[in-house]
Every structure is written in C-alpha cells, then in structure tokens.
C-alpha cells in the first residue's frame, strides 16, 4: 500500500447535479481508482459519474486565514437582492 497514491473521489449522483466529494482511497493509478470508487461508492446506484484526483493535486485554502480570506464579503450587503427596494405593484421582479 505504500506505493499506491491516495485519490480523492467525487461522485455525481445524477445528471444535473454537481460531483460531490465522497471520500478517498488508495489505488495504483487513476483507472484503478475509478474502478475502486465504483465498487465502494456506487453500490446502491448512487452515481452516474466518478471523478478521481490524486490527493497531492488538491489545493486548499488555509483555515487559519479564513478571517482575512472571507471577511471582505461580509459587509457587502448590496450584493444581495433584498438590499434593493422594489414596489409590490411591479410584477416579475
């Protein structure tokens, strides 16, 4: 198992939906990862599409930087539709 890289697995449960992260597994290569993902994560017809990505190719934000990272969006309430006052008489808006 020491040589088998770790893969992150994403499953689309049906057309129209996003792929959702389902977990991880070790495999010798991407093809094997897809087959193993099929065996483990779609046993009850839970998937129509599988994506696998080697875990060392996943890049993520740092939680300790969350404040600075996400703070600018907090005070921009004008990005929300409810900020704008439209009279009730105006339809379809």
């Amino acid at each position: 198992m020491q040589d088998w890289p770790l893969f992150e697995i994403f499953i689309r449960s049906k057309n129209g939906l996003h792929h959702v992260h389902a977990g991880s597994l070790h495999a010798a290569d991407p093809e094997m990862a897809i087959e193993n993902a099929r065996d483990v994560y779609t046993r009850r017809m839970e998937g129509v599409s599988i994506w696998v990505v080697e875990s060392n190719q996943m890049h993520a934000s740092k939680p300790e930087e969350n404040d600075a990272m996400f703070d600018p969006a907090d005070d921009k309430i004008y990005r929300h539709p409810t900020f704008y006052k439209i009279p009730d008489d105006v339809k379809h808006m």
């Binding site: 198992m1 020491q2 040589d3 088998w4 991880s24 495999a27 010798a28 065996d39 483990v40």
Partner: protein, 313 residues
C-alpha cells in the same frame, strides 16, 4: 499564538457545535485520540468480515447467501470510509495496517467470538450490528466532521445488516423446535458479549471524560448500553427468545430495564488478547496481508507499464 489561547478557542468552537475539519488547528491529544479511535473502528470492520465470511459458502439458500455476501462486502467498504477519515488526520494507511498486524492497535472485541452456527449469523446481524448502529448513530454528531460524515454513510447501509440478521432469526423462530433451539442457543452466547461492545463502565473508562468534553463521544458507554437493552428486549420477546439474564426486569419507576452487572473479568481478558478467537483473527489478517503483497506489487508494475505505453504514444 500561544497554545493555551488556541486550546481555549478550540474548546469554544466545540462548545458552540462548530465541526472540526482536517486542516483546522486541533490539540495534539485530540488528533491522537481520533487517529486511535477511527483506525480501531476501521480495523473492526475488516476483522468483522471474518466470522461472517466463514458462513457465505454455508448459507442455507441463495437469498441468504447473496444477502450475507453483500453485507460482508459492505463491511470492507465501511473499513475504507474509516481508514479514509483517519488518513485526513495525517497518518498514512500503511502505518495503521502495521499497527494492527503488530497488535499495537485493537479492534472491537466482539469479533474475537466464533460464529458457531447459522443462527449466529442472524444474531450477529441483530445484536452486533444493532449495537454498532446505536453507537454509530450517536457518532454522526461527533465533532470531527470527516468521522461524522463516514458515520452518516455507514448508518444508511448498516440498517440492512440488522434487518438481514433479524429476518434470519424470524425464520428460525417460526420454524421447527430444532431451529428455535438453535436461535435460543445463539442469543445465550452472544447477548452479554454484545453488551460489552459499549466498552467499560463509565467510571472505569479512562478516555471517556475528555472524549465527552471534546464531543468526540456524545453519549457515555453506560447510557448507550442501557438504550440498547431497552430497545432490544422487546425485539427478543417478539421472537419468543429468552434473554439469558436472570436479573432482567422492567423498572416502571426508572422507565428502563434493570439488568445484571457484566462479567468484567471476561471483558478485560478478551480486550487483552485472551478471547476464543484473538489469535485466529490476527493470523487471518497477517496471512491476508502477506498473501496480497504480490497483487499490490503487480498493480503498481502494471500501472507503470501502462503509463510508459501512454508516454510513448
């Protein structure tokens, strides 16, 4: 940022029901406790395949065989979800497997008991998976999110396991005198070991206090054990089986069943490696790992070959 400040911030998050994700700061002991607990949970799933795997070729009919095969396959998958969750904490899979094979890590003691008769397959599904479900439902609210998510997935799949077992017992208990006796003998052997699955008494459980404070555990061992008894006794009565506890009695005032104290000597004996099947289980795991080495190596060699072929194209 000093450690004390980080620990206080962490505890506040826990108290506020904020979930902890893999890259969040966490106390060293929290990480270590979770690695131990999640990996031992994973080992339990895989070792748990052994007593039932033994009966796949001995199932009485095709319906029972496909159900048992599917259940055992599920257990392998559950092991994977849990190893996956453990690996998010920064420990490689190989280290977890080595710890199991070198007996540095444990697995649930219940799997050190043998499945002696077909009725045991029913009882294991009903009582052992039943107890596991109770624990796992509680753990869907555990503070470490990857563990909680694995639990949600496992719980969805586990309920078929319990129903499969109970259905076997329904068939036996509605059958001949011999079949009923088989079922009764089975519960006689498995009832107390199943109750031991919930672990030592609260006042003898060294990890419990901290686990509850960090919301790794959401209910205590004794609480879950009592819940299991209350839920399961009516199920036994429906089957017409006698729970092998002479002190079992409904306590109207408490709203719970009173029951006997467990044989804690046996509990610790089995945990420490002296149960009926400990040695056999470990030998099976070591053999499986050793026998599978050529497959792991061959897969890598084939992957390398395929990659080279693709590059040349």
């Amino acid at each position: 940022m000093n450690n004390k400040y980080l620990e206080e911030k962490f505890q506040s998050a826990i108290d506020a029901e904020v979930k902890i994700e893999p890259r969040d700061w966490m106390p060293k002991k929290y990480r270590k406790t979770l690695i131990r607990q999640i990996s031992q949970h994973a080992h339990s799933e895989v070792v748990g395949m052994l007593p039932e795997g033994n009966w796949i070729t001995r199932a009485p009919n095709l319906r029972r065989k496909v159900a048992l095969l599917a259940k055992v396959q599920d257990e392998a998958g559950h092991g994977l979800y849990l190893y996956s969750a453990a690996e998010t904490l920064g420990v490689p899979r190989e280290e977890l497997i080595d710890d199991l094979l070198e007996e540095k890590a444990k697995y649930s003691s219940i799997f050190n008991y043998p499945a002696l008769t077909w009725a045991d397959i029913g009882t294991i599904g009903w009582l052992v998976d039943g107890a596991a479900i109770m624990n796992q439902v509680m753990l869907t609210r555990t503070s470490y999110a990857p563990y909680a998510r694995a639990m949600v997935r496992i719980c969805k799949e586990e309920s078929f396991h319990q129903r499969q077992g109970y259905e076997i017992l329904l068939t036996l208990c509605r059958g001949s005198e011999e079949q009923k006796a088989l079922a009764q003998d089975s519960i006689d052997r498995w009832w107390f070991p199943a109750l031991m699955m919930f672990g030592p008494r609260d006042n003898e459980s060294t990890h419990s206090q901290q686990s509850l404070k960090w919301k790794i555990k959401r209910k205590s061992n004794d609480e879950l054990r009592q819940q299991f008894i209350d839920v399961t006794v009516p199920q036994a009565e429906y089957l017409g089986l006698k729970v092998p506890d002479p002190n079992l009695k409904w306590n109207e005032k408490k709203g719970h069943y009173d029951s006997s104290e467990l044989d804690w000597d046996e509990f610790w004996r089995v945990v420490k490696g002296h149960g009926p099947c400990n040695r056999e289980r470990m030998e099976a795991r070591r053999k499986a790992h050793a026998d599978g080495e050529w497959v792991r190596d061959a897969a890598m060699a084939y992957a390398e070959k395929r990659r080279k072929r693709e590059t040349v194209k």
